[in-house]
Structure formats: structure tokens, C-alpha cells
Symmetry: C2
Subunit: 294 residues, 2 copies
């Protein structure tokens, strides 16, 4: 496994691979590090589908708000590299902030509409930061395929929109959420949780898992479904609901509250964000038609 | 010369070239068509420096304001193709608006700061439209080198900023303004001018050509220089000044009015925009230090 710290190095590394394998495909997994099994599943999928697997580890200041957890975002480079190697990574790109932003950034890639809701509403500027850094990373790595986890479902929608709108020559591969044994969606931020919070945080995945049952009810409206979600989550007294939303996916448009869930012939997302102390957790389920697999 | 109308076609054309010439360089000249000698000079320069020359012709709706001349922007595809072929073009990409924007655009590439002045101030949204379409075209063509005329000096500054900020793997090659025999900067919009306007429009290039004389004056301040420019241009009664500005280049920052021109140790641009009837003409001179060649 080759680890590169500068843009020039990683470009040279990939260009050497390309020269030796003109038909070889490059798979790319962009991350902020502190890797867990969710990231490993992306790397393994890239390993299966591509000839070379590139991982980037970069905690991107642009996508953190001024009051957010940039400085204390967890980092463990040594463990990250061990996990990356085990998951079959070939090249790691691990730039400093100065390497990525050597002078004040004046250019921003902005996706409108789908960024106004969910995490975009709670975290203004977040998705412009994500779209901008992902553009930069795509331009540096120039991958054939890029892998993103569906835990950040809105991020996947934003990246797919950007790729289509800007004709970026890359295929986006969304990958399913990975969960702990008890159901909690894997996240680098889970380490922040106290034991009590960790216990109650199960309310998110529990509510989502009940979706399968609730959806069978032929009378239930989207408004009522949302209420059921809310009731389930509010059983956890430590949790502070940021949002509970049901929207079309990937367009993230509102759905009429009196529309019957059973009759939905469009894909939709049930998306949750709940704060435990200072730790904001998100989780979601995407219901796809006609099979409606959650 | 191969002419392609779809993104898939031009990608295939260029990819075939790349497979046959893995080390071959791709030169790119993006235009809005109605080509003149200025465009031809860009194509010839690309021809000299690159193994294949790609021209795009696309009147980009995104960069026109609602009251601007999108619909009546001059078009002459047959003459364009003849001129392109003569200048040594290999591939022409000539997409329709539907091909470039098949669904509502939600993604925008925005460059801040340097877009607030000059044409950016008079044409809100113009440079976001330019940066977005140039991003798209770069992602479609994936050129090694791209050629832009310095008549649109602010555009060159915006594109260079975008390329640096987003790590686009392309070298931007700015090329000098081409002028008619009497000095008028070449522009597709010159055809709009009535014979009287065409005569008076010389005031722009005349004022700029006097720069060389005025700059020798060791006492002259930037404020006074701007005044002299204004006086010269206002000798033309049909002209309606949009702006006369002297700014650092390429940063486009203001310069203190009482600073002595002779003492300037930085590059600066003298930029003019004057309306003749509905036709807005621009022209400029970039003064580079230490030689200070205009």
C-alpha cells in the first residue's frame, strides 16, 4: 500500500498505474478517516469492482460550520492505515489542510434545491463544502468509480446531482448502511457517545426497523408515519430531535401529509437526525418501488 | 475535421485519439461561435502546441442575463466550420442547449471576489454561468491545455482561479487581444455596430494606446490616469460608459487613487466597457511589471 501526502505524489502514483494498465479502472473512496466497518465495506466493494483502489483521508474544514466539531473530529491515522490495507486499498491520499487549500478558496461548487432540506437546513454551507472538496478530489484522482455510503443519503443525492450537472466522468456507487450488532448505524461520531447515550441512540434504528411493519397498514398516511417515527424516537429522553423527515428520493421533495404510504409509487427516504448531548447522529431508510425493500 | 453534436460522440472521438496516442496532448478552444481572427489565433496557437485541437461552439444561456442578447447573439455555423478547419481544428463539438442542459441545472460553480467588479458588477450571474459551462466542457473534453483570449481578461482570471481552486488538470493559456486594422478589438458583437457607432468605437482602443505615453509621466497618479481615460472615451458622443477601471491583475483588487502609476511594482489592468446603442463593447490593456509591456 502506497501512502501519499501531496497532490503531485498521488497524481504521479495513479498516472504510473494508468500507464502500466491503460484499460485499468480506478476505484475511489473519499473519507474523513477514523475508519470503521462501513468504510471498509466501501473499500471492499471497490476492490471487487476495480483494478486499483484509492482511499482519501481528509477532514475537510470547508464542510464544518463555525460551531461544529472540526477540531475534535476523531483522528487515528495508524489504525486507519491498518484497516485500509486489510480492506484491500492500494493507494492512500492523506493531504494536509495546507496542501488542499494553499490559499484562500474563492471557488465554490454549489448544488441548490436538494441542499435546502434535512442536514442542509441544519448545517448551512455544509453541502457546498462537500461538493467543493469532492470536486477537488475527483479532479486529483480522476476515478472511474467512486463509492459513498447511504448513511449520508443526502450527500449521495448531492454528489449524483453534481456529477450529472457538471458531466463529471465518474460513476457514483451508493453502498448500504452498515450497522453495529444492535442496529446502531456505524459512524465515526459514535465514539463521542456516553454509555447512556449509546444505549438510547438505538431509538433511531429501532424506529426505522418498525417501518417494515407500519408500511403494511393500508390506511396509514405519510403524516401519521412521521408521527409514529417521532413517538418512537421520543421514547428516548436524552435525544433531541433535529429532524424527522420523509421526502422523495433522490429529489428530496416534500410528500403530501395525507398521501397513503401504501399507495406510494415513488422512492422515498425516511431520514432522522437526533442530538445526544453535542453529538448529532443521523440515520435513514430508503424505500424503493415497486419492491419497496427497506 | 470531425464535427460532433453529442457529448457521447465527442468523448468517443477524443478517447479514440487518446488510445492511438497515449502521450498525445489535447488542446481546447471553447467559444460561442461566430468566429473571427481572434478565435483563429487561439486555434493556431493550440495547433502549434498540441497534438489534437478541439473547438467547442456553444452559445451558453447560463451566462446571459434575462435582458441580454442571448436570442440575437450572432450565429453562422457554416462560416465557423470553414474558419475552424482553416485554422487547423481536428474536432468540433457543437452541442444543442438540450444536450448540455437536459434537465434543470441545480449545480453552479461560483468564483467569488474577482467576479464582483468590472463585467461581474454589470452582469450579475454572468461569471457563474461561464465557470459552470467551462467546468462542464473541461469534464467532457478533458484537455491538457485550454486557450482563452485576453480580451475577456476577467474571464481568464476567473477561469485561472477556478482551475487552481478545484485542482482541474488543465493548463490555461491566455492569448493576446487581436485587433482590426484601425485598432478595434475583435469581437463577435462588432457586427451589431452601425457605421457611425463603428467609427466612434475606436475611442476604446485609442484611449488604451495612449497609456504608453501617459505612463511615462512620473507624476501621474492612478486617479488621474483614470480621468484621462474617461476624457478620451467621452470624446465619442455615442458612447455610454459602463465602466473605466484600473485594478491589480489577476487579483482585480482596487488601487489607491493617489498612487503614482510610474511607481507601480505590480501587474494591473486598465479595463473599459462602453455601450454603443444596445451593443456593449469591452477592451483592456494589461500592464505587466517589471517590463511593463502593454
Amino acid at each position: 500500500m502506497i501512502v501519499n501526502y501531496t497532490i503531485k505524489q498521488i497524481r504521479d502514483t495513479i498516472s504510473t498505474f494508468r500507464k502500466r494498465n491503460p484499460e485499468g479502472t480506478v476505484g475511489f473512496v473519499p473519507t474523513m478517516g477514523y475508519l470503521h466497518e462501513g468504510h471498509a465495506s466501501l473499500l471492499r466493494k471497490a476492490r471487487q469492482e476495480c483494478d486499483v483502489v484509492v482511499l482519501s483521508i481528509f477532514v475537510n474544514p470547508l464542510q464544518f460550520g463555525p460551531t461544529e466539531d472540526l477540531d475534535k473530529y476523531p483522528r487515528d491515522r495508524e489504525r486507519d492505515l491498518a484497516l485500509a490495507e486489510q480492506a484491500g486499498t492500494d493507494f492512500v491520499f492523506m493531504p494536509s489542510v495546507e496542501e488542499m487549500y494553499p490559499r484562500p478558496m474563492r471557488t465554490q461548487v454549489e448544488v441548490s434545491g436538494i441542499t435546502d432540506v434535512l442536514c442542509g437546513a441544519s448545517r448551512p454551507g455544509h453541502f457546498a463544502g462537500v461538493a467543493t472538496v469532492v470536486s477537488k478530489l475527483f479532479n486529483i484522482v480522476n476515478p472511474h468509480r467512486a463509492y459513498f455510503g447511504e448513511k449520508d443519503a443526502q450527500q449521495v443525492a448531492v454528489i449524483e446531482q453534481m456529477v450529472a450537472d457538471l458531466n463529471l466522468p465518474v460513476a457514483i456507487v451508493p453502498c448500504p448502511i452498515l450497522r453495529e450488532g444492535d442496529g446502531l448505524a456505524m459512524s465515526s461520531r459514535n465514539v463521542y457517545l456516553s454509555p447512556e447515550e449509546r444505549g438510547e441512540a438505538l431509538s433511531l434504528s429501532k424506529a426505522l426497523s418498525r417501518l417494515r411493519v407500519w408500511r403494511v397498514n393500508e390506511e396509514l398516511t405519510f403524516g401519521e408515519l412521521r408521527h409514529k417515527m417521532k413517538d418512537e424516537i421520543q421514547k428516548s429522553p436524552l435525544g433531541n430531535v433535529d429532524y424527522i423527515e420523509i421526502l422523495t428520493y433522490p429529489g428530496l421533495l416534500p410528500i403530501a401529509q395525507d398521501f397513503t404510504v401504501h399507495d406510494a409509487d415513488f422512492d422515498y427516504i425516511v431520514a432522522l437526525a437526533v442530538k445526544y448531548g453535542a453529538t448529532r447522529l443521523i440515520d435513514n431508510a430508503i424505500v424503493r418501488q415497486p419492491l419497496g425493500e427497506v
